[in-house]
Structures are given as structure tokens and as C-alpha cells.
Symmetry: C3
């Protein structure tokens, strides 16, 4: 039906969907969260059973856990979308998720959503979501999947890049 | 005039406008800030009179207050746009706003801009802006509107989701 | 060849390219980083020689320095793109870059990438990149270029905008 090789309408709808998840989560609007996922979706935030859930209603139910925070803010960016046929897509996005406990202490996690999306009669929905954690502050203690980063080759030595230029210091013979 | 049901050109222009506000604010380019708003705009960051202003020149003038910070950085994301007729639109976006005082202390606020936009002879401009605060760190003390989040039902109990799996701990009988 | 005055396809490709840099950097996928830049690119993160590099391979090589961090997360937003002819463009984007050392200490920098892009036979690539720093936390010690912010006029006085409304306090004659 579309003649747009860039699939603009699909990109717009998927981007809005990913953002809607964040908005609904920060409002704890559980019915709106459920509408983001397919009926038979699979969502996995970490390797433990307690961090996996299935089905739109199941995901929304599991996210009741976010009420243990008093406030949250989920900032979504770095959205990349690739299509696999007319009704399937993959998306990777970044999230910076800030959480505050009732006692005022906070936890921030920075990570990636790796999503598989399907288009059905209700439009695009998330069929599979896997979260990976790039990093977090000390306050965040949930055991999320970790992003696998390439390691330096054996013998790699860190260059002098931080702070004042040490060459100048050595010229003076002082610390 | 346009035959694009997605209104791509309008979305692009509005997105650029919202970003331009951040860029101009971080540079303290007050004339550029004024150009983002309509002549008769209404802007409200919080419930107090001192956090409301009117008119493009008035908003730019009020934002002179940002000079009490030595440096700022406004990161905009989660942009959602909906159109109401050919020359009106609503946008919701997220901002992570970092501020540093001359003494080096910092304040970060995470929030949402809820905007009404109008298209006039100079293109799209913000006609009404209301900021809501999702959260902030302890350093931020401005009395912004707070995002209204749904509360848990009575009797809701937080699940065990943080830290090590407690089932394993209980098996050993140790803390 | 294109009849799209908005240059949607070019914007999409450039946006994906800028995001790809962040993704590849957080994975320390150095070949993928090299593919983001032109063969004769010039990249400058700060005023010192050790913060400048040339050529796609040279940039990727220089970014081996990121291995002194154990984990990183680069959140890209505020992308603005302007075209200069069919095969040249400029982009400004914001980045919030979080870094963690092997000892668990962290460093966060908030800044802007100012890019010149060229389209060659391999599509759009970054030909020149200059990073500017809007701000950073105390843990970040690399000497990046600083964003030049306009200064307040002489005699400017900060308004009362933080904390409780002091007018109410003065009415009572108390501190």
C-alpha cells in the first residue's frame, strides 16, 4: 500500500510507541503500558525469572513493581529501526532511567531496549523486549542483563588523556 | 497545500523549534529564545507568579534568571507531536536539565514540556508551555509543577526485585 | 535525483550515523567506529594535540583510550541538521556521556557534537567533528573545548526564584 521506501509512517508509529512506554511508565498508567505490547509478547529485563514476563497484561502487572519508587523519569534516545518484511521490525533505543525512593534516595540506570515489533490490526506493538544495562549508579541494584563490551587486547596501556598535560610538568621537574 | 497525511514538514519544523529552545538557552542567546515563542505566548514553569511569564519578550526576559547558573545543559528527548487542524499542534517532550552554580554545586531536573504550538507567518512557534517535573536531585529547589503519577491500590506490597535473589539466601539460613 | 525538499532520506541516514557512533563506542567496536568517518576526517575533542586525530583509522585508534573506562553510555539527543548542497551537511547534536572506571568511580560529561558531513560512495560520513562541553561532573577531567555562553550584562542581579517564596517570609518579619 505504501510507496515510501523509507517507511516514514511506520518509523513514526514505532518511535511514538517506544516513547509512549516511557510516558505511561512514568505516570504508572498500566492500561496504557499494556497497549504498547502484543498479546503474546515476551519481555526480559534480566536473567532471573522475576525479571521476565509474558503477555501485555502480564507485563503491565509485573511493572506494578515500579510503585516501589516514588518518582521515575525515563529518557529515551538513540532510536534505530530496521524493517524485516512489511509487518516486522527491530528497534534499538537507549534509555536513561532515573528513580527515586520514598525516602529520597535515588537510582539511575543507563541501558538499551532491544525490541522486536509486529504490526497487527491495532498497529505496531512490541512483541519481544530485552533490556541491557550499559551502566548504573550505586543506588541501582536490579540484576539487569549487561551490555557486552569488547575488551582491550592483551598488553593495552591507557594513554595520558585526563587532567593537565603531564609533558609540561616533566619539563619543570616538579610534581 | 500539503498532501502528506503524516505532516512531515510540520513535524520537522516543530522538532527543530523545541531543540532550538534548548540550544539557545544553554548559550543564553536571549533573542534566539524569544524567536521560539509567539508574541502573546503564556509560559508556566510552576504554580507561583514568579514562574509564569507572557509574551516572547517577557519569556526571554524572565529567563535571564538562568544566569544565576554558570553552565547549563538541556537534553531534549521523547518528543510526541499531535496536530489539531492545519495550524495548531500539541507536543510533549522530556528534558533532562543540568545546571551548575558558580561555586561548582549542581542541580538536575528531569521533566516534561507540554506545549501548544501555532503556525503564523513566521512558521511554528510555542504559544503555551507548561513544564512538569518528573523528579530532581537535592540541588534543585525551584518549585515546578509536579507530574501527577497514579498511586498504587490500597494494600499493594512491593515485590522482591532488587539485589540478590533472597530465596537463595534463605536456603543457607544466613544474612 | 530526489524531489523531497525536506531530504528525509538524508536526514534519516545522518541521524542513524550519529547514533551508530554512540552505539559502537559503548561496545568498543572500533571497526564500526571507523566506518562512521571519512578517510580524511578531522576530529577534535579539545584544544590539546592529544585530543585531535585524523582519518577514520586514526580516530578509531585514538578512541582506544575509552578502554580506560570499564563501562560507558552515550545518550544522543537534540539533533539539528542543515544541508549545504546535495552532498554536504552540518549537524549539531547533544550527548550525555557517562563513564565508569574499573574502581567504580564515575565521570559524566554533557556536550555538543558539531559535525560536518559528506556524502561519498559509501553514503554519509562525518568529515569534521568538534566536541564542545556544556558541563561535567567533578569526576570528568578531560580538557574538552567549552561551550561559549553569553555573559550577563554588567550589574545584573539574580532574581529570587529558588526555594520558598521569600515575600511571604518578609511579611512575618522573620528569617
Amino acid at each position: 500500500m505504501t510507496t515510501d521506501p523509507l517507511r516514514r509512517a511506520d518509523r513514526q508509529e514505532i518511535s511514538d510507541l517506544l516513547i509512549e512506554y516511557c510516558r505511561a511508565l512514568d505516570l504508572m498508567d498500566l492500561p496504557a503500558i499494556a497497549r504498547v505490547f502484543t498479546e503474546d509478547c515476551e519481555v526480559e529485563y534480566g536473567p532471573e525469572d522475576r525479571l521476565r514476563s509474558r503477555g501485555a497484561a502480564g507485563v503491565a502487572k509485573s511493572l506494578e513493581r515500579m510503585w516501589r519508587w516514588a518518582r521515575t523519569s525515563h529518557h529515551l534516545s538513540n532510536i534505530q529501526i530496521a524493517f524485516e518484511g512489511s509487518d516486522r521490525a527491530r528497534a534499538v533505543s537507549y534509555v536513561l532511567a532515573w528513580h527515586e525512593r520514598p525516602d529520597g534516595s535515588t537510582a539511575t540506570v543507563m541501558g538499551q531496549y532491544h525490541d522486536e515489533l509486529m504490526r497487527g490490526q491495532n498497529g505496531w506493538r512490541i512483541a519481544r523486549r530485552r533490556m541491557e544495562m550499559n551502566g548504573s549508579d550505586a543506588g541501582f541494584t536490579v540484576n539487569l542483563h549487561r551490555t557486552r563490551r569488547q575488551k582491550p587486547p592483551a598488553g593495552w596501556v591507557a594513554p595520558n588523556i585526563d587532567g593537565p598535560v603531564k609533558a609540561d610538568v616533566s619539563k619543570t621537574g616538579r610534581k
